[in-house]
């Protein structure tokens, strides 16, 4: 078979799976990732349902494989800017931002972090901690190589030209301030879009009282709060310094507004309860939900086990009517249960599960690739096909949450399916 190049956009679980498999098929892969690390959202999770497996332990071998694979050219801090041509001969322009740290020279010792005088919100940690202008966002990040935030680096933004603190601390000559952003011209025969998802910004839904000050947490914030490599190293310390004792978990935030169910929130909310009960056995936990969406052969058991641990699941009459308010200094969930009685629950921690949204760059990328979006804003796939992988543009495929909310195994299956289609296409076989 002729060796062909394939472009994969997004290095989360779906993109990593597709990349690795395609190289086994003999293709060369350009893996474009906008962040400075790979693994996507799954590396933010401490554990995954339903087996409460350690997520980083599960994903890091995959990340290592990607980094060691000679047929994968990983382009970090990169974005696809332009695509021309057709299947078999796409011409792609990728903008690669300078990281100012040499991937070849850096050994990841971290000696440069400490001397850096700049302190920034760590977005990977959902702003729950600070990071330096040169650093990896969390322990265990892969590749274990920091990037310099050019906007905030005093040397690079010119605010203090003479600052070279990181360069001076580096023993390996890995820091190169002269590195420039580059535009790469790639020729590829096929493209797989695996750009994942974002979460609805809870500030847009005022009823949850989310202000980043009180003990109201988004699901992703809680994932980081309980992660061993997170801002508190897994210690459950709330914003007010307390530990969680009475916890309300609210499902379906933004479901009605978005017009779809995000498929994974019931399960991961139940996961939170399992975790909290394990860490704080005396905790009182209530889950406020509408319909429980727990398809999958092993999922109901996970829920039933939560019931056995005396986690209370409250079906709410109307999930939109739930509100959180601060009364006399403590948080309170207002809700209506099945009996339409107005009820309240005082909690010292609230976790809210927001809807999964198309990734922020979806619209721009769709324009660049010539793809259409569905009415919810996710990438649309061919309407006359039974599976949602092929798009209307021949040679471009979608995998994972870029196509719609789904869990890890479904994302991986889509990635493998996309690989099958790329291999067939490269052999001149067009299925369907």
């Amino acid at each position: 078979m002729k060796k062909q190049n394939v472009l994969i956009i997004g290095a989360g679980v779906a993109g990593m799976e597709a990349s690795q498999l395609l190289t086994e098929a003999g293709h060369k892969v350009y893996l474009v990732e906008k962040e400075s690390l790979i693994g996507g959202q799954t590396i933010k999770f401490e554990e995954v349902y339903p087996n409460m497996e350690c997520s980083t332990c599960m994903v890091s071998p995959k990340q290592q494989e990607i980094l060691q694979n000679e047929n994968i050219e990983l382009l970090l801090l990169s974005e696809v800017k332009e695509v021309n041509g057709t299947a078999g001969e796409f011409k792609v322009k990728v903008k690669k931002k300078a990281s100012y740290v040499s991937l070849a020279n850096c050994i990841g010792c971290g000696a440069c972090y400490e001397p850096c005088p700049v302190s920034l919100d760590n977005n990977f940690e959902e702003g729950l901690s600070k990071m330096k202008a040169i650093a990896v966002p969390c322990a265990g990040a892969l590749p274990n190589v920091p990037a310099i935030d050019a906007e905030n680096c005093l040397h690079l933004n010119g605010k203090k030209k003479e600052c070279q603190a990181c360069k001076e601390a580096c023993m390996f000559d890995a820091i190169d301030f002269s590195e420039k952003d580059e535009t790469l011209d790639l020729e590829v025969s096929a493209i797989i879009v695996a750009t994942g998802f974002d979460m609805l910004d809870l500030k847009k839904l005022s009823q949850y009282g989310y202000n980043q000050k009180d003990n109201v947490y988004t699901a992703l914030e809680f994932e980081r709060l309980y992660a061993e490599n997170g801002p508190t190293e897994g210690k459950l310390i709330l914003r007010d310094g307390e530990t969680p004792k009475t916890i309300g978990i609210i499902h379906c935030a933004g479901r009605e507004e978005q017009g779809y169910c995000s498929a994974v929130c019931c399960m991961y909310s139940t996961k939170f309860s399992h975790f909290l009960k394990h860490k704080v056995p005396e905790a009182k936990i209530k889950e406020f939900h509408s319909d429980l969406c727990i398809p999958g052969k092993s999922h109901q058991k996970f829920y039933q086990e939560a019931l056995k641990k005396e986690i209370e699941f409250i079906r709410c009459r109307n999930i939109q009517d739930i509100s959180v308010e601060k009364k006399n200094g403590s948080l309170q969930v207002n809700y209506q249960n099945g009996n339409i009685e107005k009820n309240t629950f005082k909690a010292n921690m609230i976790i809210v599960a927001p809807a999964m949204l198309p990734g922020k760059d979806t619209k721009n990328l769709a324009e660049t690739l010539g793809l259409s979006l569905d009415e919810k804003g996710f990438f649309a796939t061919k309407s006359n096909e039974l599976s949602p992988i092929a798009t209307d543009v021949e040679g471009i495929f979608v995998a994972g949450c870029a196509e719609g909310p789904k869990d890890i195994p479904d994302s991986i299956a889509q990635a493998e399916a996309a690989v099958g289609k790329v291999v067939n296409l490269s052999q001149g076989k067009i299925n369907e």
Partner: protein
Amino acid sequence: MSKKIGVYICECGTNISDRIDIDSLIEEISSLEDVGVAKKYGLLCSPAGKKYLAEDIKKEELTHLVIGACSPREHEQTFMKVCLEAGLNPYLFQMVNIREQCAWMISDKEAATRLAIKYIRAGIKRVALHKSLEKIELESNPDVLVIGGGIAGIEASLSLAGPERKIYLVEKTDALGGMTNKFAQLLPHQGANLSIVKDKIEQVNNNEHIEVFTSTAVEDIHGFLGNFEISVTNQEKDSEKKEFKAGAVVVAIGFGLYDPKETPAFGYGDVENVINALEFETMISSGKIVLKNGKPPASVALIHCVGRKEKGYCSKTCCLYSIKFARYLKDKLPNVDVSEFYQDLCLPDKSDQNYFEEAKKKGIHFIQSDEIEIKDINDRIKVKYKSAEGKKEELSVDMAILAPAMVPSQDTPKMAEMLNLPLDETGFFKEAHEMLNPVATPIEGVFVVGCALGPKNIPDSIVQSQAAAGKILSTLIPGKKLEPEVKTAEIREEFCTGCQTCLSVCFYGVISFDEHKGISIVNEAICRGCGSCVGSCPSGAIKIKHFTYPQLYREVLEALR
């Protein structure tokens, strides 16, 4: 030939040299037996370091190599490649992690150095017992056996078939299409109509690279990835037997339905005009929605989650197809009163909610309920239920349509035994890894897709078929030889007592029993080298290459000294 072990300590910039006294470490170990050279270097993984190492291996004519540096996860592969370049068998190399396990762990330099010395000694003693291991290559057959001619099996066949890959598609009934043959219509987001399925069946029949066997049962499958031997018999033509070979197997044997009679409360088989979902599909196909008395129903109840409690899982598809039924009823019989009795509406796909909202607009009632009981009262169906408010309520209807749970196909246990595949506690096939490897199984080269793995809708089944195709197309490449694992288990015949304990612990099913010799046999071509059998063998007859008892014993002995 005498041994000459080379020991190289990486300073890792100052990561190791700051925290470990490398000079005294080298002094300590250089007099050990068989150690020819012991040196330090700034950064061995750098291009210059690798070049230096390769040249030194050649110059010093080393027979074995020990590197004290970072974690093997970081650079073991790097240095194995250097060995290859320098003409040293890469299995005659041992990496010792003195960075993460010594330098970064212990702040007291003297203590860290003491520990590093122990670990390096352990590496030296171990490597002296290493043997060269060579990669072997195996011929493999690119053809694929697909079991099950439903939509999943059809899709797998179409995705895989090609000029260099023949597909054997085996279906036990006399027609392709599986359960979809019983459906009158598909859901809107699953394509407009059933003609898509009919087209696919035609494509299969017209594809010269797919050989279809209908009314045929798989009798036996033997072998391993790249080399399966299969025999099938035709159930009609006097049990005509056929044999062929394939490199991979895709199991797509679908699902069965829960028999509602197992839960008498649903009244199925007892109360007139209580039918199941498939019977209603047949009714739609006939175009006549009628009761036993020939009249159209004025009111219909759709009962979700039949058997969910008993089976312990949600079947994912029932909510949506029950809504499909309700919408069909409303379109056909505009005055009909339709009520959906559900526990939890499960609408996880992005277009599902719209479909549901549209149904609500058509005036379909959705009643969240539990503890359903269906009774025949004066020739009318009475649905008794507990409402969301916890009250006992009831509703009289003319017809009730039950949505039974999806259960494993009745052929599942037999197929699992034939292929040595594990089942999970729900009775469906078990994935190789529920999260990361959803269509593979512990048996290399055997894949399971569609509802054989668990309840799912048509798009998800098709994605899984395409996923298995993606894995097979990428790994079982026509003309390409397979390279099995090198570090495999070996059974020493003279010690094996034939107790067969190892057979029961091997997750990958690679051990068989030789009745003639009375001993267990490992198929090294497919052994993954996990070592479970080694631990289980009561007579110590099994060893794993590169992890033999003497190698491990010497290593541990030195580390604990």
